[in-house]
């Protein structure tokens, strides 16, 4: 692994990523013990938020990276290789609205357009375009669940693992858009120039 630098996402995929790296024989104790440090050059790990992983990998600042399919869908124009579905971090991109009568459907019928809050504006826009519905996408950075409860929007497009946060906020899933898991991605140039090292990792990933 020493030859390669891998971008590891902090947040929900952090534990699973480090467990995977443990399985590949990387010593992740230092990473687990220190949540302020970002660069662990001695084991070839850099840590960052999941949505930054494609940025570093595309530019070649990291050879490999682990991030969610949701991030890759949102940043689909990035030039990188998606090598393996790692299987962990399973969750679903959904369209959810307040329980009871579907206000998004009503808005679409009566007003011709529904307002949708999301952290995934491109995924949401593409989904409504593909399904032939007009939607006004409102990008929010924080808790998306708040938006339909306050009348900012009629529905949200968001990622849910268990549905708990949605139901605690009185929201129900109306449509499932995509199933997402953690993916191993690679910089295209590194994939060619460091092929033996990357293939050795892929082999061990498949064996784990």
């Amino acid at each position: 692994m020493s030859e390669l630098r891998i971008a590891v996402p902090r947040g929900t995929l952090f534990e699973g990523s480090l467990d995977l790296l443990d399985g590949l024989g990387v010593d992740t104790r230092g990473v687990r013990e220190n949540d302020r440090r970002l660069l662990f050059e001695e084991v070839g790990i850099i840590t960052m938020r999941p949505s930054d992983v494609p940025t570093y990998v595309e530019a070649g600042a990291a050879d490999l990276g682990i991030t969610g399919k949701d991030v890759l869908l949102e940043q689909s124009e990035r030039e990188l290789y998606e090598l393996v579905d790692l299987g962990f971090g399973r969750c679903t991109m959904v369209l959810a609205t307040v329980a009871g009568e579907d206000r998004a459907a009503e808005a679409l019928r009566r007003l011709g357009v529904m307002r949708i809050a999301t952290k995934y504006p491109r995924v949401a826009a593409r989904y409504f375009l593909d399904t032939g519905r007009q939607a006004e996408i409102v990008e929010v950075k924080g808790s998306v669940e708040l938006a339909p409860l306050t009348g900012l929007v009629e529905g949200i497009v968001d990622l849910t693992a268990t549905g708990t946060t949605l139901s605690e906020n009185g929201l129900v899933v109306r449509e499932e858009i995509a199933h997402c898991t953690a993916r191993l991605i690679a910089n295209p140039v590194a994939h060619k120039l460091k092929a033996p090292a990357i293939d050795a990792i892929l082999e061990r990933v498949h064996a784990v």
Partner: protein, 332 residues
Amino acid sequence: MVERIPSGTRDVLPDEMRELRLMTDRIRGVFERAGFGEVYTPALEYEATFSRGDGRSAVPEYAAPAYRVFDEQGNVLVLRSDMTVPIARLAATRYTHSEPPLRFSYFAHAYRGVRPQRGQSRELLQAGVELIGAAAPEGTAEALQVLCEALDAAGLETYRVGLGDASLYPSLLEAVGVSPDSRDRILGELVAGDFVGVESELRALGLAADDAELLLRVPRIRGGPDVLEGLTGRVEDAAAGMRAVHALVAPEIAGRIIFDLGLVRSLGYYTGAVFQVYDPAHGVPIGSGGRYDELLAQFGRPLPAVGFALNVERLHIALAGEERGRMAPRER
């Protein structure tokens, strides 16, 4: 108030310009010595020049024309997005009776669309050659030879050249009976670098196990000559073509080649061998090229051809990166 310039464009000031000029002068010397006379074509061309008979773009998707204007008669003109198409036009119209092969080089700007916030260039300087009327493998080997001499002259030391075959994967898919629709989807996933997507598309087709295994394995094959051993069928045919090119180039160039069966490039005019230039000092390819044996026929002079284009700005970044690496070898 500061006057802005369009995103994806930039001013080049004297310090940078001197370095760029030094690089391009050295490369120009290589092209001239190899017999590739420099040409210049108009920045504006008729839109039809960049379209094929069937209305599709003649160029790969990433190089599609992005800027259109009307002339006084209402004709649609485009800012050239590529130099290969204009030079194919030039060769077919100005050299109708010349004995091939024809050799041309260029240092010219191409104009492309950009996505916001991605650091892409609307205007990029390309340095390249087109070798028209020289078939594979000899023509391909000559182009690779000139490519490597140009990179050497520019001062790059650690670059490698990926060599693939644009027709290999499409013909494999066709051979196992994948429908044209699925073929386009799978090739789309492959061009996008989504191996997970390729796998799920293939699985959904319900192919025979060994066909599916082959289609999954082939695009991942890349490396030295040993990766071409033990192949069979169509894959071996493509590998034989690559080996033939490999055998024709000088040993120091052969050592630079990475065989890459997954190198498909986006569609467009490529027909056979394709290549891409990598350098460990830069995260993106710094140049690319390949065979376009059918493009000249569109302009009325069917001749096989091959060429490459280096992105001068990326070459400069890689060169600076290599120099930094040589000064501080531990720093990545």
